[in-house]
């Protein structure tokens, strides 16, 4: 009897250990490969890898991912600056609704957003492309350079991909705040706007964590960008029309360069993966650090 129990315990323990080791090995392998292959390229081409355009295929040097880095920065900056206020406001609206019609609208918002989370991001990208294509003839009268492949489309796609995450996190956080906190705010004579502000402040670390998750999603998104940002391996002309021109991104660089048979381009793909990895690792660390405060 006892030996049977002991055996069972040993079996379960060892299978747990095996599962743990498997995970560690797999994650470790990914990190090690990216670091090993990517870091070497980044280090040997530092700092030009951050500013140069990719070298010609089959050349000795690799060049750099400058246009892609710039593209990711611009895309994320625009998507983030529109996404943050909207996701925060939407979260407050759904979590803090009082009147019946507000509650109904809030429910619909929540449902839609949760559906959007489940959407394959390539579909999001395609639908943005479709909308932009449909808009093109009308917008063209104001902006002759308007095309569906643009920085603007890319930013809209990233916005749609990441807002549901930020929204859901903040909304969950708001819902978890005990009712008496709200009542305390209201009883002191605070209006709804001020109360919401106080609640968001109360949730500071959750909000920051939500935003950094949103940011990480934007940085690492690929599929939504295929038919929106489209990609570019050269620097765009940085004039007023830049919003309406295609732009590169690090993730697209990983994809396109990784698929080719040229060694220097494959190296470049690894370099881009490493930069992406470093960025998301930094964000992950920051969000962990912020969440610890709770």
């Amino acid at each position: 009897m006892r030996t049977a129990r002991k055996l069972k315990s040993a079996a379960i323990l060892s299978s747990l250990l095996a599962a743990f080791l498997l995970t560690v090995v797999l994650v470790g392998h990914i990190i090690a490969t990216v670091a090993y292959r990517g870091l070497a390229v980044v280090a040997s081409n530092f700092p030009r890898v951050f500013t140069d355009i990719p070298a010609v295929p089959g050349a000795q040097e690799v060049g750099g991912v400058g246009p892609h880095l710039l593209g990711t920065a611009l895309l994320v900056a625009i998507a983030f600056s529109i996404g943050v206020p909207i996701s925060l406001l939407a979260a407050v609206f759904t979590a803090e609704s009082l009147k019946p019609w507000e509650r109904k609208l809030g429910k619909v918002t929540r449902l839609m957003t949760h559906m959007l989370i489940e959407f394959p991001t390539i579909v999001v990208g395609l639908s943005v492309y479709g909308i932009m294509s449909a808009l093109t003839p009308y917008v063209k009268t104001f902006v002759p350079g308007f095309k569906p492949f643009s920085l603007l489309s890319g930013a809209v796609a990233l916005f749609l991909v990441s807002v549901p995450y930020m929204y859901a996190q903040v909304e969950d956080g708001l819902k978890s705040i005990p009712q008496h906190v709200r009542e305390a705010a209201y009883s002191l004579g605070a209006g709804r706007f001020l109360t919401s502000y106080v609640l968001l402040k109360y949730l500071k670390s959750t909000v920051y964590a939500a935003l950094s998750i949103g940011l990480a999603r934007m940085i690492s998104e690929t599929a939504a960008l295929f038919f929106t940002a489209f990609g570019s391996d050269v620097y765009p002309l940085l004039d007023a029309q830049v919003l309406f021109r295609p732009i590169g991104s690090l993730t697209l660089a990983v994809y396109y360069f990784g698929l080719t048979g040229y060694e220097n381009w494959v190296d470049l793909s690894w370099a881009a993966s490493f930069i992406l990895f470093a960025l998301s690792l930094a964000l992950f660390t920051v969000s962990k650090f912020l969440l610890r405060g709770r």
Binding site: V56, P85, F142, K147, D233, Q241, L243
Partner: protein, 394 residues
């Protein structure tokens, strides 16, 4: 409270002002007339040099030409000091054509020319456009016969035999129809093994060229299979063949499967040093794809190349393939670039400048990626003629 309001207001102002600024700028830009200077070049070339104003052109399409396009773009942008930014992304021939038709791209590149459906759309909408060949390409038949490799033999095939292999009518390497093509010394080394037929599983211009050739050569292939970016492979249904993704996939499959046969873009086969079969040409000579044999075929096609607005979807089949000449390789094609003639003038000038560069400087050896083949002089001259429509169009 105040802070939040402030943040919201500031971000709203920033977004609105960026949009407003861009709209205003582009309105201004619209009013500016493109600065075009037409100056005759001092010597030799009688064609005027056209300098387009700063512009940004976006193209996309065939992935096969991507390395070559990227090299051209780099060199072209260096030569113009970045005045014209060219962006090309390898989204595939089909997507390139579709997105160009939808107006999302300034130019498209496809492995074999605009498809029938796409051409019909263009005709229906009465859009004016041109198509030009930009570089030469060809398809190599690759194989893996260990006995041949050991004996230092090289495989010889004819179009009919290749068609019958993929149709499933020739089962084994030792088939008399294969044997009769071989060198007398090598004939005995043909193994009594089943041939494994590898092909592309993804839609590709290479498959389109290969199946076009088989369609041209074999009546039965034309009736049963025909040509396209993807086709249904009869040999697969017999369990004697399978698909693989990309040139890489097909060559890896062939290299790892003894007694197999496959086809890849010739540039790729040469680069990767995969055994390439000789193909019997119209004059009965056995030739391999290389710069000379491919140019020989295209040189002859230049004479009867159809106009730039004709249907080019079967151009290789009708004009390029199985041409006369002793040293002519039969399975050739040219990636084709297409652009609208009713595009804004500034854009047309920028496109003109870029593609003119591609067809002149771009065809020089120092601007050609290893494995690619420049188009022969006769075809190049014809393409340059077609390109002139970009400036003369209203």
């Amino acid at each position: 409270m105040k802070k939040l309001k402030l943040v919201v207001t500031i971000s709203a102002i920033v977004v609105l002002s960026v949009v407003g600024f861009t709209v205003a700028q582009s309105q201004l830009a619209r009013r500016e007339v493109a600065t075009v200077t037409v100056t005759p070049t001092p010597t030799q070339t009688p064609t005027p040099t056209i300098t387009a104003s700063p512009a940004s052109i976006t193209g996309g399409g065939a992935s096969f030409v991507n390395p070559q396009m990227q090299l051209w773009i780099r060199r072209f942008m260096e030569s113009t000091g970045g005045r014209i930014a060219v962006n090309y992304q390898s989204i595939g021939s089909g997507a390139g054509e579709a997105k160009w038709l939808e107006g999302a791209l300034d130019f498209g590149v496809s492995d074999i020319g605009i498809s029938k459906a796409g051409y019909q759309k263009l005709v229906d909408s009465r859009r004016r456009f041109i198509q030009i060949p930009i570089v030469a390409g060809s398809v190599a038949v690759i194989y893996n016969i260990p006995e041949f490799a050991r004996a230092g033999c090289e495989l010889r095939l004819s179009g009919e035999v290749v068609a019958d292999i993929y149709l499933g009518k020739i089962i084994k390497w030792s088939d008399p129809r294969v044997a009769e093509l071989q060198d007398s010394r090598c004939r005995a080394h043909l193994p009594d093994r089943e041939i494994y037929g590898v092909h592309r599983s993804d839609g590709s211009g290479t498959t389109a060229l290969f199946t076009m050739y088989l369609t041209l050569i074999s009546k039965e292939w034309a009736e049963k299979v025909s040509y396209g970016y993807t086709v249904t492979w009869p040999r697969d249904q017999m369990g004697l063949g399978e698909g693989a993704r990309g040139n890489e996939g097909v060559s890896a499959k062939v290299l790892n499967t003894p007694y197999s046969i496959g086809y890849v873009e010739a540039a790729y086969a040469i680069q990767q040093k995969i055994p390439v079969a000789f193909i019997r040409n119209r004059e009965g000579r056995f030739v391999k794809p290389d710069a000379t044999t491919v140019s020989e075929a295209l040189k002859r096609a230049a004479v009867d190349l159809p106009g730039p607005q004709e249907f080019w979807g079967d151009l290789p089949l009708k004009y390029y393939m199985n041409r006369e000449g002793e040293n002519t390789y039969p399975i050739v094609g040219t990636p084709v670039a297409f652009m609208y003639l009713d595009a804004p003038r500034e854009l047309r000038l920028a496109l003109y400048e870029f593609f003119r560069w591609v067809l002149t400087e771009g065809q020089k050896a120092e601007n050609i990626v290893e494995g690619f083949i420049p188009i022969p002089e006769a075809l190049r001259v014809k393409a340059l003629q077609y390109l002139e429509a970009l400036i003369s169009a209203q």
